[in-house]
Structure formats: C-alpha cells, structure tokens
C-alpha cells in the first residue's frame, strides 16, 4: 500500500465542513481550462513538448505566489500506481482522462485537497476548485485568483474574438465549467425529476451522474453544470447556475415536505429498512449501497434517523467505490469480494451506531 497522503483518506478535508444547503448540495466545483501559446495541445504534443508544458507550469505553483492557497505538492501520474490513480479519480481530484493517458500528466494538490491543478489533461492546464455545499461564487473567486497567478507567469493561448483557446470546441471562450453536485431523492421519488432536468437543459445547463454513469444518477446524486462557455461572461454563467440550483433546492425541499405529509409511514419504513440492510447485509453491490446511502442521507435530513452524520455518509460514498475498497482490503479483489468487503465496511461503520 502506498504511503501517499492523498489516497489514504477517503474524504478530502474540505468535505468535512458543510457549506450552505449542505443537506441537498454536496459540493460546488469550478474548472478553468487554459493552454500555453505555441505548443500543441496534449492530443498532439510529443513527449518532449508535454515535458516542456510541465516545466513551464509546475514551478508556478510551488513558488511564493501560491502561498495564500496552502502548500502544494506535485504528483506525476507516471510515478503513481494504478490503484492510487483510481482513488484520486474516485475523490474527484483528477479526471479519468488524466489517469488513463498520462503523457507528461501531473496534478498539483493543496493539502486540504480543495485545489487540484491538472497538467497535460485534455488541455495543458486545468484549474479545479472544490467547495462544500452551494458556494459557486466563492469557488469562482478562488479559481480565477489561481488563474491570475499562472497568467502572470506564462503566456496563455488567447484570441481577441474566441477568448481562451481550448482543445475541445465546447470549452472555448471562458474555458469555465462550473458545476454543482446535488442530492435529489425526493424529486426522484415523486417522479418530478425528468421534468426538472429537461427544464434545466433548456437554460443552457446540463445534468450528469457523478461518475459519468449517464442519465441514471447513482444514489440520486446529479451534477448540474453550464454547457455554454462562449458568448457569456463568467459571472453570467455562475449566476445562472446559482439561480437554477437555488430553485431546484426549493423544489427538492417542497417535495421532501410533501413526502413527510403524504406518505410519512412509507418513507420512514423505506429509510429504516435501508439502514437495517446497510448495517447487517453480507453482500452489497455498489448500486444498491449508493441507493441505500441516499435513503440514509434523506432520513438524517428529515429527522427520521439521528445518525450517522452527513460527513460519515459522504465518506462512505467514496469508500464504497471499487478503487477505495481495493485500497482498504487488498489490491486484487474480484467483484464478488468487493461486494463482500463493501458490506463489511458498511456494517462496521453503520452497525456500531445502533
């Protein structure tokens, strides 16, 4: 087992504090894509050119300029083992793309893991800031400040008319992808979710599952982000997302209250059954554990369950992922073994709190 700090803990330090609306909003994330002038994008860059990108970008965030944002450590992807990479993906600290194709790939992380700077991903530079709860404005302030530090040190590929030039035409302009991870069990249970999601699509936002699982969001967790990056200012993008998410929170709140009024017994039964199954099952598939953990989260928020804390549930969401289970229980687990260890982990964490 590697001694890498970033892959030992399931929960990044920033995840431990709630942030606003944390009963519904898990996290807010800003990502800014940037490229250096003259060098080909990572898609076409040679090994030497990727090294050159790394040499230009890496020192920027190990100097004094970055001290305001914590101490940073650079990890080269080619020096990490497969399991560590998988865990970094499960913690959302790197993208699956960076983990798979690491020609000159690196990530610069600060100690609480709220800032993750990817080098040689699809673009030369991807600055990512993660905040707990609904804090899109705060996350943008930090991301743009980090962007300014890089901009003062290197020449970005920028065009008067098209803005920041990116490898993919869907990121050109601001290079900004602002997203919010929300837990919407009541909207799913009351069958309102599809109507809301299609409305979200109509205002230039897009919805995905948390680990790119497609339309079927695991554990009722959805990621809502901006689709448009050209022709809108960053603040328009952020305010649009903030306002839409605020409305979704309102709908989810109302749906939760209605559930409590209309079907209190059924919902209480469902939540307590989920607790029972998580606390005693011997085999647990990922999909089921995600769904039942979602029930627990709802139960805690509705006051039907007294524990576990939201922080423990966030932790379990990450720890029950395949990479983390292997990290905890052994490198080469078959899928049946994973299901068994997942159940064991859940029993040990939740069973003791009766």
């Amino acid at each position: 087992m590697s001694s890498l700090r970033f892959t030992e803990q399931a929960l990044s330090d920033w995840m431990r504090c709630g942030g606003s609306h944390s009963e519904i909003v898990i996290s807010s994330r800003m990502r800014i894509a940037r490229n250096l002038e003259h060098l080909p994008f990572p898609l076409l860059a040679s090994a030497e050119q990727s090294e050159e990108v790394l040499e230009q970008l890496a020192p920027v965030f190990q100097g004094e300029a970055s001290a305001d944002f914590g101490n940073f450590q650079l990890l080269r992807l080619d020096e990490l083992d497969e399991l560590d990479k998988k865990v970094l993906v499960e913690k959302h600290l790197i993208s699956p793309n960076l983990a798979d194709d690491s020609k000159g790939g690196a990530v610069i992380l600060n100690e609480d893991e709220s800032v993750s700077i990817m080098i040689n991903e699809e673009d030369h530079l991807r600055i990512q800031c993660l905040f707990p709860g609904l804090q899109v404005r705060e996350a943008w302030v930090r991301a743009t400040a980090i962007d300014d530090i890089f901009e003062a040190a290197v020449n970005y590929a920028f065009d008067d008319r098209r803005g920041y030039l990116t490898s993919c035409p869907t990121n050109v302009g601001t290079g900004l992808r602002a997203s919010v991870m929300v837990h919407l069990p009541a909207l799913v249970m009351t069958h309102q979710i599809n109507r809301i999601l299609s409305a979200v699509n109509q205002v230039g936002l897009t919805v995905r599952g948390i680990y790119g699982e497609g339309s079927e969001a695991v554990g009722n967790i959805f990621q809502i982000s901006n689709q448009i990056t050209l022709g809108q200012t960053e603040s328009e993008i952020i305010e649009n997302l903030h306002s839409v998410v605020t409305q979704i929170i309102e709908h989810e709140r109302n749906a939760r209250e209605r559930l409590l009024v209309d079907s209190a017994l059924r919902i209480t039964d469902r939540i307590k059954r989920s607790y029972g199954i998580l606390a005693y099952a011997a085999v647990m598939e990922l999909k089921e554990s995600a769904q039942r953990l979602s029930d627990l989260r709802l139960g805690v928020d509705l006051g039907i369950l007294e524990g576990p804390s939201i922080s423990v549930l966030n932790e379990l969401n990450v720890k029950t992922q395949p990479g983390f289970l292997q990290k905890l229980f052994g490198d080469e687990l078959s899928s049946t073994e994973r299901d068994m260890y997942r159940a064991k982990l859940l029993r040990e964490t939740l069973g003791s709190q009766h």
Partner: protein, 174 residues
Amino acid sequence: MLCQECGVKPATLHFTKIVNGEKTEFHICESCAREKGELIPGTAGGFSIHSLLSGLLDLESAGKGKSEAAQTVQGLHCENCGMTYSQFSKLGRFGCSSCYKYFDSTLDPLFRRVHGSTAHVGKLPKRAGAQIMCKRQIDELKQELQQSIMQEEFETAAELRDRIRKLEKEMPQE
C-alpha cells in the same frame, strides 16, 4: 430480447448507427456496450462529446455535398501542428491554438450550434488582454458619446471625447 453480443443478459440498449449512409441496428446489454466502448448516450466511456461534435462537423460538409466549397474546407490544414480539417472533423478537437486561425472560416456555424454565440465576452488575461480591454473601453465610451450627442449633452460629450483620445494614446501596442 437477449443481448446480441453475449447472448446471456437482456438487451437494454437499442440504437441505430448510421455510417456512410448505411444503417445498422444494435441490441446489446449495458456491460457489453461498455466493454466494446459502444455509443451509449450520456456515459463517459461511450458516446463522447467529441463523437457528437464530429457528427456536427461532418454534417457541415455533408450538407454542401461535393461542392467546391466543401472541397476547399476539406483542403484546410493547420500550418502550425499539421492537423487537417478532416482530422479535426473526425476527432472533434483542435490540435493547437493556431488551428482556430486556419479553420476560422468553418468555425462560426459550429460555435453557434454549440454555444449559440461566436465571440468571447468574458475574462481577459491581464497582460495580453490589456490592449483588448482598452479597445473594449474605448468602444463603450464611443457609444456613450453618441448617446450624449443625441441628447445634446455637449459638455458630457466633450469630456467623453477627451477620455477616448487619452485612452487611444495610452493603448498598449501589440
């Protein structure tokens, strides 16, 4: 219906692929689809944004058929990284920042489809953007100037004119 690949699990994905006008129907289960990296809408490993973009770009040339314009577009290439337009339309990604310059004539329709817009209005890099920022400011002042003239506020207009002149003098050169 059973999955046509493994023949064990029920097929949950049904889709039609059209390649060069040839239709093929697929009925497969999710795990086979994932393994084969087939096109599953909305999944990371399958139907990617790049394949969607490349569809849009192909549409662009398909619409024009084998006209002269289409041939000119297909002949485009980036002199910096060597990427050809047909590579770009297959990959749905640029090879370097100069591609934007060499493929410029084809980009407005693409950006309009993806973003509903063709021009950046957001953040500017402080150093390289100083000139652009200055230009934007001058444009804004010129509009204000027009308005104040129309409203016969000549004192304000004179003030604005002086500010514009000053900015034009101070504008950083490329």
